[in-house]
Amino acid sequence: MPVWLELVFRVVAVFVAFLTLPLIVGQTEHKVMAHMQGRLGPMYAGAFHGWAQLVADGIKFVQKEDVTPRAADRAVFRLAPIVSLLPYLLVLLVIPLGPHGLVAQPLDIGLFFVLAVVGIGVVAVLMAAWSSANKYALLGGLRAAAQLLGYELPFVLAAASVAMAAGTLSLSGIVRAWQPWWLVWQLPALLIFFTAGLAEIRRPPFDMPIAESELVFGYLTEYTGLRFAFFLLAEYVGIVVVAALTTVLFLGGWRGPFADAQLGWLWTLLKVFVVSFVIIWVRVSYPRLREDQLQRLCWLVLVPLALGQLLLTAAVKLMI
């Protein structure tokens, strides 16, 4: 296969994953929430197990009028949804699906790349918040920025613990070095990473920045139609990315009970969907954290725990 053809194939594959996985997660969320909370729409829409609910959502967003507030900074306002989506697309490029280089773009410092690129999301939130010319949006944006900056610390520290254990920053290398007993050894890091990941994508119970009972809809207040759908899509890609990173870093990626070489991609996808399910489950189970509780959890619980895990990782690593 010529190089350019392979390149095109890889990019197209990632793009397809980028378009389908978030939609599957979105539909799963509809169904899971419907079962857990007795919601009717996703059970009956389209007659067969509510399959048409997501389609209806899509059509609704396309039909809505695209409003840009008069006082808004138009260019920045329109750019923000794209900037919020782009980092996650880039991250999907380096996540390994299976062994033997089944990854769109193997990168020697993949983990570092992921952490750096995910950080760009904050800029998109600040852009959306400021350019809306709305005080609720601005307040939501400031909350989001404080939350993202804070939770980035335990997020990075927990990931650093695994990188230290594996002795590499390559995502494929981490999966290769992974052993089942890491599930115990790296358990605190797993929980910290998962919690901080939830906060990074601003999912409930960490959705204080868009708390609708006090801030209307935070930095998304002024967005309608397709632009709003873009932010929503970014949230669902975010779920996929956090689930995939948790899988690759802590749950052994393509390692399964049998036939890793042939069925590696299947194990990866299965684990990603299980973690996504837990993310949805957490959303329906826990009430929203108050702003001060949210910061307290980050700085007084997660950061010290993550530092402790780093010490433990270093100690065990020195002993074996």
């Binding site: 006082a71 410092i109 570092f112 750096a116 010319a133 980035e152």
Partner: protein, 171 residues
């Protein structure tokens, strides 16, 4: 030795970085200045990437785009963040042009004179995390640690200066 695609890419990224940098200091929209800074720093990260310094490029994105600029925007939005042009900005234009332009031109002249058109082959795989880590933690470990102590001191100093209420007894 003609012009290769890499040279074109370098020149384009350099032009983007320069243009965005000029907009940072010349735009009248305060928040947009911060956003142009994101573009300028991103283009510089792109320059590092083209020069195969991958780790430096992503450190640039993580620290400068993801943290420093965000803090800057955060601070601007906490104080005042007008949408649209601000007419009351006081900027010493000519002094700024003289200092900034002079330093830029001087450095450019110095570097061009030092290297002329000599070419240096790009290092292949030697710029990943492992070699840089080895350098930092073996050869340069003392300056590295001294720097981190300096940053810690600056951090504590900032807290002491900005929070005079801490440690004062209730009277």
């Amino acid at each position: 030795m003609g012009i290769e695609p890499v040279d074109v890419l370098l020149a384009a990224l350099g032009a983007i970085a320069l243009g965005a940098g000029a907009l940072v200091v010349s735009t009248r929209h305060i928040v947009r200045a911060g956003l142009w800074l994101v573009v300028a720093l991103g283009a510089i990260a792109g320059l590092y990437l083209v020069l195969t310094a991958e780790l430096v490029a992503w450190v640039q994105v993580l620290l400068y785009v993801g943290a420093v600029v965000v803090l800057l925007l955060f601070a601007v939005m906490l104080t005042r963040a007008p949408i649209g042009a601000s007419e009351d900005l006081d900027r010493p234009r000519w002094a700024g042009l003289l200092v900034g332009g002079g330093a830029g031109l001087g450095l450019a002249a110095l570097l061009i004179d030092a290297y002329r058109w000599s070419r240096v082959p790009l290092p292949g795989q030697g710029t990943g995390a492992a070699p840089i880590g080895t350098e930092v933690f073996r050869t340069w470990v003392l300056p590295f640690e001294v720097l981190s102590v300096l940053l810690l001191a600056a951090l504590i100093g900032a807290i002491v200066v900005s929070r005079p209420d801490i440690g004062r007894r209730e009277s």
